[in-house]
Symmetry: C2
């Protein structure tokens, strides 16, 4: 019997791999080391928990430790892997009972990503949160409560949550003015969440555009939506420091802007959690994520990486890319589990498909936009159009803005974005599927998409964009 | 200068072709003969006009005759083409001023489809309507009005509408019990429209399933929805005759069921309007639609056909198929217009993508389902799954049912359906795009579709279906 399949990290990729391996090879021993108390939680649901649309922390758990145990997976929470020795084929684990060396037959590194706070000072003050994990979400929601309320009962998750932190923030007077540092999608979602609690919300974004991976057209629509919803935007403002006496009291920008705040959410980026592999000889890509092959395996036999700590091949370029996303983590984990169980399964490519809700606006993006396409050596041609979401005569038809990018010579579709309030986001899947299939703009234009007055005009907004872009390519 | 581009039929395909040709070759003379008074109207919007969500008939016009004239198209309404002579390259036209022979350089047959009433007796009684054209829609809505209301003002479209018919039905007492004969998508849409007016609505469907082209899972969901909304379904009931003394009073089925009704909408099917071509030697397919090549051209040089009277190549089989749909008509017309103007443009293939709203249920279908796939010589494997429309913890997540069909040996995706109340319909475009690209189920399973809690779970319902079907194929 071979040594166990050891998984480092008990979230999406790790537990998907463990579960799939146990299902396909029930006799294989599978051990999952998780350094924290939480496992298998929905990171993407945190803003909606803070907003209050998701009632309790436990609603965000995909699997409880009991569910994991039922799958006959040996899950060890509060066990941190501190070293990997590829030659000895062991990992060093620190747990409540001390340090041990655990041999592995196959190893999956699924350590995820960590929030980075950049060069901003004062992010360790009370009232400044990275929003990266359920304990942050719990503390923010407790902070929003009136001290007379029972914070622990409100946030839920009593078996796992950092109770001291929840009670401490629950006892404070609720904040009135919030700064969100970073206008990426977490920032946009948090603006909605905090506005729902009646806070005066300010978003600070160093560049001139919100959610920059979604391109200009979407960024502008989101900025307009946020302003209409009462959020104050500070675009082109670089936050220098958060200041205060133990608690956040004030935000200061490099350009001189300052604002009195009593809550700050800092969401300026994430980085792959791969420090553990330093010195092991396992190759990291330029973003610091683990380099893997099409099966998620590193250059060392039997060592895999998946999820937010790993690279994937990009659908459009075919080159390795670091695009941490939930579906990719789940799918890659599942594929590695199958491969380890004896059924070699490709992890699939990543197109960078992402959707985000900004109050009433639904936004989507996929593939390469203008800048990314140029960086990848394409000669991009971009077209942005606005078309109706339904037949013009049907109630509820609204403008939907679509951007498509194609390569000039090959006419191959490279990427696209969409924004609108009527079923806009899921339409990006059409473009994602076209990218997966390496379709040209002409092929997309001739695709037989759905039409019925309540759902789409005769020419769906994506078809309109393809038609106009194709015309531009032929000019 | 060549003879004019003559178009027979002034609806979607005809006017798309005329407009595109004029845009690309402004000097070419373009004549459109339309036998009726209406041009370029949205047939698919009629149920919503009857329902009252679309206020006036004119809202359903994409182009007015004035718009058409502005494009420098010679539109001749109330001119019926009665014969085509391919050898002489002329058409015979009967208009208000008599009969003329019109020479053509290129000819487009865009005569659309006509409603068939099958062997049902009594469909010519007052109060029985086919719902095929704006005059039918106008008469039904006038019928629904209290006689004290001004029917002509209510329905609108005074420049075109059959005023006598509107006034006659407007003067009648409104119906209370409606029979819808035929449970296809027009039947389902009309059930919603008439229910909104408070009528007691009965749907009669000869087969055991509603909207049969959408397959069983969708048919059952729609049946459940209609029943919940108070519609009485008579499935497996073949309507024999409508009876009454000048007016519809009673419906009788072959099996003995009878019902007193004062309104009947008969929507049992359509057939291509190609009688005009009898004896011309122009080939028709097995459904009676015009056989054309990839540019929409018949075997006779310079004679084209497009829209509901013509075949298209099917995306999945590559064989000619008659699938009358709005997008196809527009796209094929536009392509023929470009080709005639000197830019040969393929009309594109048809995947049979269709979506329909049944009260709150959104339904979609595309490609070949089990029966169609068998008929086409595939060995179909079918899987139906139910998955959440959003992350389970996010408010508004509902069950969405997806069916996918694949070929056993090649594992190629052949078709699919979807039904659910939360953004279900437009998701069928993902499957339509996959069919256009000849994707396998495995390729679809690995496609990077969008995930965000408000819009989709980590594994989108279509990915869940692909995953399960792929597992079945590997067994």
């Amino acid at each position: 019997m071979s040594d166990p399949f050891v998984v480092i990290g008990g979230d999406a990729a790790g537990l998907s791999a463990a579960s799939k391996c146990k299902r396909e090879a029930p006799d294989r021993e599978v051990i999952v080391f998780e350094k924290g108390r939480w496992v298998s939680y929905a990171h993407c649901g945190e803003p909606y928990f803070v907003k209050g649309e998701v009632e309790k922390l436990e609603n965000l758990l995909s699997l409880t430790p009991e569910d994991v145990a039922e799958r006959d997976i040996d899950l060890r929470r509060e066990h941190e892997v501190t070293a990997v020795d590829p030659d000895a084929e062991t990992v060093t684990v620190e747990g409540p009972d001390g340090e041990v060396d655990q041999p592995y037959g196959d190893l999956l590194v699924a350590t995820g990503a960590r929030a980075v706070t950049g060069p901003i000072e004062g992010t360790d003050l009370d009232g400044a949160f990275p929003l990266h994990g359920l304990d942050d979400a719990a503390a923010i929601r407790a902070f929003l409560l009136d001290p007379s309320e029972d914070a622990l009962a409100d946030v839920g998750g009593q078996d796992f949550v950092d109770r001291e932190r929840v009670e401490r923030f629950g006892a404070m007077m609720p904040p009135e003015t919030a700064a969100i540092v970073g206008g990426g999608y977490v920032g946009v979602e948090m603006a909605e969440a905090l506005s729902a609690h009646g806070l005066d919300v300010h978003v600070f974004q160093r560049s001139g555009h919100l959610i920059s991976p979604f391109g200009e057209a979407v960024g502008e629509a989101v900025a307009e939506e946020l302003r209409e919803q009462g959020v104050t935007l500070h675009l082109g403002e670089e936050v220098d420091r958060l200041a205060g006496d133990g608690r956040v009291e004030r935000l200061e920008c490099a350009g001189g802007t300052a604002l009195d705040v009593d809550l700050a959410v800092v969401g300026v980026g994430v980085a792959p959690n791969t420090g553990l592999l330093e010195g092991t000889g396992i190759e990291l890509g330029e973003d610091g994520a683990v380099a893997v092959d099409e099966y998620g395996e590193t250059a060392r036999d039997g060592i895999y990486a998946a999820g937010d700590c790993a690279e994937d091949d990009h659908t459009v370029t075919g080159e390795p890319a670091w695009v941490p996303l939930g579906l990719t983590a789940n799918r890659a984990g599942r594929a590695v589990g199958a491969t380890v169980a004896g059924d070699p399964t490709p992890v699939g490519e990543v197109a960078g498909t992402a959707v985000v809700k900004a109050f009433e606006q639904e936004c989507g993006r996929v593939g390469l936009l203008e800048d990314g396409a140029e960086d990848a050596g394409f000669d991009p041609v971009t077209e942005t159009i606005t078309a109706g979401s339904r037949s013009g005569y049907y109630p509820g038809a609204v403008e939907t803005t679509v951007t498509l990018v194609a390569d000039r010579d090959s006419e191959r579709l490279l990427g696209g974005t969409i924004v609108g309030t009527d079923r806009a986001a899921v339409r990006i899947d059409t473009v994602a599927t076209a990218l997966e299939a390496d379709m040209t703009v002409g092929e997309l234009e001739r695709t037989d998409l759905a039409y019925a007055p309540p759902f789409s005009p005769v020419w769906d907004p994506i078809l309109v964009a393809a038609k106009v872009l194709n015309g531009k390519l032929k000019d």
